[in-house]
Subunit: 407 residues, 2 copies
């Protein structure tokens, strides 16, 4: 049986990123940049006023000249028409371009304006004026040609403003995978039904769909696969038209565990089956290549927490890789156990835990009461999973642990 | 001018949560529960096997009886037909219901089966067998009638499995607000255009839309509002048909700052204008009530970082309140400054910062090089905002600070 680390290595070696495509700004969130993004403008693009007021020559004020003719009004979006000479000023709005000749702005609150002799005048109620006052010079934030995002960056909503400012209205990114979800098992009924004796509700399907959708992916719900070779084979075959097929259930070694056999029959190459991890040991992963297209297939164990952990640990990483990102465990953070904890068994374990919030700088994670891979109750309070290696079973409060946050 | 705390109080006092509606499981993520969710089933719903093998009576094994008749095969989803008597067993699959009479399961790997005398037999290759071995008893995870989520819980993708298991296929939640976004300013051109002299690209529109969409909201892009009373009034009026209208620009005190006047004219009641915070001081907030409908309106300052901070700090909280959640500063976390930092000015400041990732349990935030409210470059590296009170300007490395993470 392979280790978690070996499973990650196999995912990295096997998964081919999806094709790169020019994608519009409105659809970039969640994508991994396939190229550096270079500014095509200076920021700001012109010398600009950061106040409403009057653009003036500071040298005029230095010589005691405080009553100036107003030769122009410049609002944001205007291109100034005049070059200010000595004794001249321009009324200017926040964000508007400073006219040539001016090198400072006096706030409107420090001025009085008048109309005299058919001309506009302003009197500056100030003692002195430093050059550059309230002026933001062209290119001070960044210069044309500067790299503002590097290849590999994952676009977040807060990045969209900067991308827009530099004109990145279309950007090359790897596609997001299309996903199909297929839980299997005769015992599964829809969550709107009342289960009969021996039945349980299909919880993995809606959960896996929700987790994949939360990554911004388009997900097809294939319903529930029954434990019947022909019918299940047909459903799985349809799922292989997607870039990623996520199955749950039917992957152990039992007589009713039909999934690995069907996948093999359909030409999907097994990359690994079973990982030395708890929960989720029977996880299955394989790929189907057809020309330059690759479908990744996960068979997650049917117990709901096993499916959840398999998704958070491996499927999420595989999706990131399909999107051209790195697969490494970048999401893990470290913190202290808030309570002592005992682990059982010989496998490394991911244990449901909540983040403890207090007013200190120390991350603390609270291991929750959890009865094993069928127990979803603990997950309602969980913010992620604490990793416990198999090296020791006793973990005192305050122990430094690794934590895998949910998205 | 009001403080940040006063602004939050006014938001809490003013904003009415949206109507509660039964919402299907597939659409619950991001919603705030308006009711407790009660389990309508036991988990598991029946005594079940956690292994493929044979359900047996442990008392038989205790008396040395290890060759048992196999009277039934039970797969997951079946309702067992037999009650096991002494000397009898049932072949059973993982997840299937344990038949009455049985109290333990022997793994298939520890058995040999045969057909003899027209009947099925199994021989158990074990020395002893504890009662309850490989049996998960009905209701051990949770019981019918138990509360599994409480009112106010914000539904996450990882919660969907538990909600499905307990039959919560429709749940009462407050609606999500419909949102309209309208940046204003004559200087704004589309991000696909090359700005002429005096112009800049519209970065706030796409950014505000992306941030609202990332909260799972339906967002209408109203384009760009020009600094013209009639045209801008018409656009704003259309925006008021939504539950939340987010404007940017035009909210200062300048002659071209038309937004507050137009909103007043359209019947929107000003709740506050200007908050003692940096960046984003000129922020405007008001509400329009029509019958039992309420539209919330934010006028964010036009500088892009001011808009971003205004959204992350106030708009996000208002949205949470509209959805029936609490408005309190629940998202803030504490950590240490990784670098010394100097603040300027007399206002409390939210400063762009990145999370430092290392293998310690201490959260560390790195204040980024940032030139002020027009500088989006720093935001490309930022994971959130460090809060600096106005009490001191010198902040040594290691100082405990509050951090507002981006979504």
């Amino acid at each position: 049986m392979i280790s978690i680390e070996q499973a990650f290595q196999l995912l990295a070696q096997t998964i081919t990123p999806l094709p790169v495509e020019s994608t519009s700004l409105a659809n970039l969130v969640g994508h991994v940049l396939a190229v550096d993004v270079i500014a095509d403008v200076n920021s700001p693009p012109h010398d600009k006023s950061v106040m409403d007021g009057y653009a003036v020559r500071s040298a005029d004020v230095a010589t005691g000249l405080k009553r100036l003719e107003v030769v122009e009004t410049i609002i944001a979006g205007d291109s100034p028409a005049c070059v200010l000479g000595s004794g001249q000023s321009a009324k200017i709005m926040t964000g508007a371009q400073i006219p040539e000749g001016a090198d400072a702005v006096v706030m409107v609150e420090q001025t009085e304006s008048e109309c005299a002799g058919g001309r506009q005048w302003v009197t500056l109620n100030i003692e002195s004026l430093a050059a550059e006052k309230h002026v933001l010079r062209c290119g001070i934030n960044f210069r044309k040609g500067q790299t503002v995002f590097t290849k590999g960056h994952v676009v977040r909503p807060t990045d969209i403003g900067l991308l827009a400012e530099v004109g990145a209205h279309v950007v090359d990114v790897a596609n997001k995978p299309t996903v199909a979800v297929l839980p299997t098992g005769n015992e599964l009924v829809d969550c709107a039904s009342v289960p009969a004796r021996g039945q349980i509700r299909n919880s993995n399907g809606p959960m896996l769909i929700a987790m994949a959708r939360s990554l911004g992916l388009s997900v097809t719900d294939l319903g529930v696969g029954r434990d019947d070779l022909a019918a299940l084979g047909e459903k799985i075959s349809g799922g292989l038209d997607h870039d990623l097929l996520i199955l749950s259930g039917g992957v152990s070694a039992g007589t009713m565990d039909l999934v690995p056999g069907i996948l093999k029959e359909l030409g999907v190459r097994e990359v690994f089956h079973k990982v030395f991890v708890k929960p989720g040991k029977p996880i299955w992963f394989g790929v189907l290549g057809r020309g330059d297209r690759q479908t990744c297939v996960f068979g997650l164990p049917g117990n709901p927490v096993s499916s959840l952990v398999g998704f958070q640990l491996f499927v999420r990483a595989a999706i990131r890789r399909q999107m051209g990102g790195r697969l490494d465990d970048c999401q893990a953070v470290f913190g202290e156990l808030s309570l002592p904890h005992e682990t059982r068994g010989d496998r490394p374990t991911y244990w449901p835990a909540s983040c403890v919030s207090d007013s200190t700088s120390v991350r603390k994670f609270k291991p929750l009461v959890w009865r094993g891979s069928s127990d979803l109750l603990a997950l309602g309070d969980a913010d992620g999973l604490i990793y416990f290696s198999a090296d020791s079973s006793h973990h005192p409060a305050g122990e430094l642990v690794k934590f895998l946050p949910f998205d």
